[in-house]
């Protein structure tokens, strides 16, 4: 078996590089995941300014874009994080499929959460959503002729007045919540941080953060649909 598997992997060395190992790939996923999580938190806090009125939100949007070097620097870090996160996830996913070629006739969960078992589903759905979201509110193609560059408040109201778009956002945010419910504590485990005193707190923090992000973000399309924001 060892020679057969060595032939399959093309490796005979007893050492292994950081990126070659599953542990290294998960560490990369943890760090990039942390970056993306922090962005998502900041993004929501920024967007919640919609409740302070059109002027505040549009001013904030303008301020964010006022320093191109900073804007593109952040965008580059985010893009790189997304790419590395996806490459590592894909390679680990392929490895998972190869590791168990024959599925169980019967398999039952003895101790994992639904969110943790569906990371390979929530992840790709979020990717599809992010592409749609950028086309919707950043570049405007998905919003159509109503899109007005820089007038974020207007774009959001118009965008969410179309019910199917709001539903897509609500579903995507539930996926985000599910992804982060596992991801936010799991990233600590991946880089080797676990302690009976802190890990239960980290799991609670992950649940609270996920719930806050879901509620905070969903509140915007819901408010538009209910006519609270107009």
């Amino acid at each position: 078996m060892s020679t057969a598997s060595a032939a399959l992997t093309g490796k005979t060395s007893s050492h292994i590089g950081f990126w070659e190992s599953t542990v290294g790939k998960k560490a990369v996923m943890a760090v990039t995941g942390a970056i993306l999580f922090l962005f998502v938190v900041g993004h929501m806090l920024g967007n919640l300014q919609i409740y302070l009125g059109q002027e505040k939100l549009d001013h904030y949007a303008h301020a964010v874009k006022s320093i191109p070097a900073l804007l593109w620097g952040v965008r580059l870090v985010l893009l790189l994080s997304v790419i590395l996160h996806i490459i590592a996830a894909t390679q680990l996913g392929l490895r998972k499929r190869r590791a168990r070629p024959r599925a169980y006739v019967k398999w039952a969960s003895a101790g994992s959460t639904y969110a943790s078992r569906t990371m390979y589903w929530s992840g790709p759905i979020l990717l599809a959503f992010i592409i749609y979201h950028i086309l919707h509110f950043t570049t405007g193609q998905a919003l159509g002729p109503e899109f007005r560059e820089g007038e974020v408040y207007h774009n959001v109201i118009v965008g969410f007045s179309f019910i199917p778009a709001s539903i897509v956002y609500i579903i995507a945010m539930l996926m985000l919540g599910s992804h982060l419910y596992h991801g936010v504590w799991s990233m600590f485990q991946s880089v080797g941080i676990s302690h009976p005193r802190y890990t239960p707190l980290l799991k609670k923090l992950a649940a609270i953060a996920a719930a806050a992000l879901v509620i905070g973000n969903i509140s915007i399309p819901v408010s538009v649909m209910l006519g609270i924001l107009k």
């Binding site: 078996m1 992997t9 050492h15 542990v23 169980y104 969960s109």
Partner: protein
Amino acid sequence: MKLKLHVWRQKSAASAGRMVRYEVEANEHMSFLEMLDVLNESLIEKGEEPVAFDHDCREGICGACGFMINGVAHGPMPGTTVCQLHMRHFKDGDELYLEPWRAVAFPVVKDLIVDRGAFDRIIAAGGFVSASTGSAQDANAIPIPKTGADMAMDAAQCIGCGACVAACPNASAALFLSAKVSHLGLLPQGQPERKERALKMVAAANHELFGGCTNIGECEAVCPKHIRLEFIARRNRDFLKASCTFREETAAAGAG
């Protein structure tokens, strides 16, 4: 009690297997393996091939036994190997699916028996301490902090049964590896080879085509020895540190 069993039957590693249905009359005082012994007696009397399954001590301490019962490694009782699982936990008329551990690194040998040689090769890669021969020094000559000794004992409980791999949707050996890396890495005797151990054992698991850990916790739930997920974090820590600080040996070892 009457049970309906669906058992994975596979003549050899090369042949295709399938689920076969059996009925067996058991009583609640039997262990699960004794119930299978009864089934096998009846199969032998009928001139059929008995169901092959691994077992040795039947005391829950050797790690030889183990298969999936209704999709859960070692069956429904936590912290229990299949040999220590008793039929009183089942009801008359229960329908049970018995399958071998499934992983490319654990090829089926026959029926419910898999080849866990991959675990032996991982141990050979680094799951040991090098010790001088000769008479052992006094056991209390090396001070060991109590908490470290306790944790090392917890990790050392791993019997290498393979349930963690079987339960893991990724077929990852992370819990097994973490127990072995931790139980030596927590003790003074394990320090000289600590970095090398983490690197070599992770490399060996990679070469055996085990999957990667996604921290979901199925392994911890089925482990008959309650090895904790915390040890996987420890293994990650050891590996990441070792990977970042690794350097080649610069000189040949002296001959003393």
